[in-house]
Symmetry: C2
Subunit: 461 residues, 2 copies
């Protein structure tokens, strides 16, 4: 609860970049998840690190929680103020601070979105490839250890963040990492903060690794006779060291939704959408090998698009798949699931999940970044039908349990947030308490995004 | 100091796999560094995780330090018992526990060396590529976040460890990571332990990422007119996305030492030793492009070896470079330095270092994994000449300071150990205290490899 002295101290720091207006608070209590949360007490819009540090001192003095906010596209309620407090919206800290083309590094503020960053990079010949679909903020992507379609080749945020500036609980500002390509100088604090979802501090600056824009790109879509055939083809592709830049699975229901929403006319069958990057000579051989392999698994209509406009149309449809699926059941809201399993167990995981969904009566197309063993079911429910919501949550729970049983993880890329917290003990066992010890060491008062990731008093030990 | 009751408790745990014999203690007080350390109180040789856990409980009960020991090849005194205690030699825990070819994973115990592991993998078509030169243990490589010649393509230990089993201070056993290719499920404890040099716990099991043995390999050695030309060629290579599997720099002095020691007849000039991995079609184009680029930088005698025996001879000579350099000054011991800078500052860093070494009168050939911005000077001193040792240490200190001034790190791959600790405050600032807070949270009694990495009472804040 924001007391009068606390509010006036905060106003002294942020002036008209502090809001307690109901519509603003309400906007920052929304998410793509079905998590219901109360309103934050206030929202602030800092412009620089020093303001975030002052805010953290204020938070410490007044024992008020701080919750970072990027583009609001998180799927697990990460940015919701579960226990009140101040939401820190980074939209005014969205600058590219420095591009270093010869080192393939860029230094940015957390509020910039990945599309905005890539627009700024366009003329440099470089790109930041991590692509979670939504036009998320780079800070949010770092906080949730996001990945997406291109991780199979370029890695996740874990692999593409070289250094951070972080404001800690209480206001100390630290820098992690260096400009060198690697380091063995002590604990990897960069990796500790990436994926910590704002529970250990607020990132105020990020140094990202860039990649060359590919000289040549080939994209294809291929229809398979069965889910198993498509998934087995992915496994074989990875085992042949044919590293695609993207290899996406869409089940027949997803294909139907994309056809309707994006005006495609793909056969209503399981499909793989695959892309290779490289120099033309290497690429020709990759494409030849993938074609052979796909044929072995019964692929039909393997259609290679090298023209930019064809590729753009296909990937735009893939990125619109979430909206396309939602549009196929008007009025529904999605329970979006996200599990990741060893590639050898992927076919089994997808097939069992399909059968489970089919038995539930809830529409739930499946799609995913299958080169990483990562897939999603988009469970569509009417939010007012409690029995549907409960059934979807139970399905999601069984998916998480299944992923663990198969040696995988409860979340490949969406993060823990609020939604996946109940499964953390099952995944990590005693290591979850170690996460709690790290949290207590860095944020002893529990002011940084409370209620997320680490064990709390009511969680199962 | 090992009291009688403590010793008899320890003997009850390890029987004849406990030694307090002077030669054994003395062997475990040696290192490749010039750090002088006292003897440990005892050495134990555990066979399984449960024994390591019991040892950690013993350590807790008797307030005795534990120091992990792999192959003893560390260059910064990591495994030295600076404050007494028990050295945990992992040579009896050196098994391959499970190979999962379809997931490209292997589960091993920490004591296995990288060469032994690759021998066991030979028939699987897979390999573990991280190659620090010495036949180090996998546990030691993980603890120091090692890398070496192949990191430019395959990454460091950071990138190739998917999960760990760790015995914590006090004896709790945790598991980190999962079998899935990626995860967003909470703090990245795997990355926290990798590079922690045994100060947060003892690794008892590691799950490693494997890579396919390359279909085709091409190796070349090329002589350049100057250090700057060679280094600039590396920078251009990386910027063209011509990702070599290895790209090593040897200065003229290193080449002379290798010629003498390994019977080569390379021109006494700065050389690049480069290797590409891939399918034959892609490789041919990589080689063609590299040849063009090298010619632009004045390379001569670019001689491609695709025959296994020629490649083996070249890389054996490269791996013997450390011994070759030492042999060039009989009786000398090496102060091995290890800095890493942004690739754009590499030429400057190497040139300044050469000039500094030349002015010192100490022989100090330079070589390195330059695709990563990482290089070493092997400063050869007679250990009994205090003035030489002091001059070498001063040179090493200036190299570390220079690396920081150029935006790099005090160690690319050797780790902090004892030798680099004095520079940690300069590299990390307040973040060093954060490392200390993490250490205190996981090892409140300071029993795990004390005196390494984190700040102590006498360190500069």
């Amino acid at each position: 609860m924001l007391t009068d002295p606390a509010l006036s101290d905060l106003r002294a720091l942020f002036g008209d970049r502090l809001s307690t207006a109901a519509p603003v608070l309400s906007e920052h209590a929304q998410s793509e998840s079905l998590v219901a949360a109360g309103l934050p007490d206030a929202v602030v819009f800092p412009k620089q690190t020093a303001e975030v540090a002052a805010l953290a001192r204020w938070s410490h003095d007044h024992r008020m929680p701080l919750i970072g906010w990027g583009a609001g596209t998180s799927l697990e309620g990460h940015a919701l103020a579960l226990a009140g407090g101040v939401v820190v919206n980074f939209r005014e800290m969205a600058a590219v601070l420095e591009v270093r083309p010869e080192d393939r590094l860029v230094r940015v503020q957390p509020g910039i979105t990945r599309e905005a960053l890539n627009r700024e990079l366009r003329t440099t010949g470089l790109m930041f490839p991590v692509d979670p679909g939504a036009d998320a903020s780079i800070g949010g992507m770092a906080a949730t250890r996001a990945s997406g379609t291109t991780a199979v080749r370029y890695g996740t945020m874990r692999d593409n963040i070289k250094g951070l500036e972080v404001v800690l609980s209480g206001g100390q500002v630290i820098r992690t990492g260096s400009g060198a390509p690697k380091s063995a100088a002590g604990y990897d604090l960069t990796a500790l903060f990436v994926g910590s979802e704002g529970t250990l501090g607020l990132m105020t600056e990020l140094t990202l690794r860039l990649h060359g824009q590919p000289e040549a790109v080939m994209t294809a879509v291929a229809a398979f006779p069965s889910v198993a055939a498509a998934v087995d083809c992915v496994m074989a592709t990875m085992q042949m060291d044919l590293t695609p830049a993207r290899i996406e699975f869409l089940d027949a229901e997803t294909v139907a939704a994309c056809n309707a929403y994006s005006g495609l006319s793909l056969p209503i069958q399981p499909q793989l959408l695959v892309e290779f990057h490289g120099h033309p000579e290497g690429l020709a051989e990759d494409v030849r090998r993938f074609r052979e392999l796909a044929a072995e698994f019964g692929a039909e209509g393997l259609d290679w698009a090298s023209a930019q406009e064809d590729r753009t149309r296909l990937w735009a449809a893939r990125h619109a798949a979430y909206r396309a699926i939602l549009a196929s059941r008007p009025g529904a809201k999605a329970v979006v699931t996200d599990v990741c399993v060893p590639i050898s167990r992927l076919a089994e995981a997808v097939e069992e999940t399909r059968a489970d969904i089919a038995g539930s009566g809830i529409p739930g197309p499946i799609l995913g970044h299958v080169g990483d063993g990562n897939f999603h079911a988009i469970l569509m429910v009417y939010p007012d039908y409690a029995s549907e919501v409960a059934a979807a949550k139970a399905l999601a729970g069984r998916m998480a349990e299944r992923a663990l049983r198969l040696g995988g993880t409860i979340t490949g890329e969406h993060g823990v947030g609020f939604g996946k917290r109940p499964y953390m003990a099952a995944e990590h066992g005693a290591a979850w308490q170690v996460m709690g010890a790290v949290k207590a060491a860095l944020d002893p008062l529990g002011l940084m995004n409370p209620g997320k990731i680490v064990p709390g008093p009511l969680d199962q030990k």
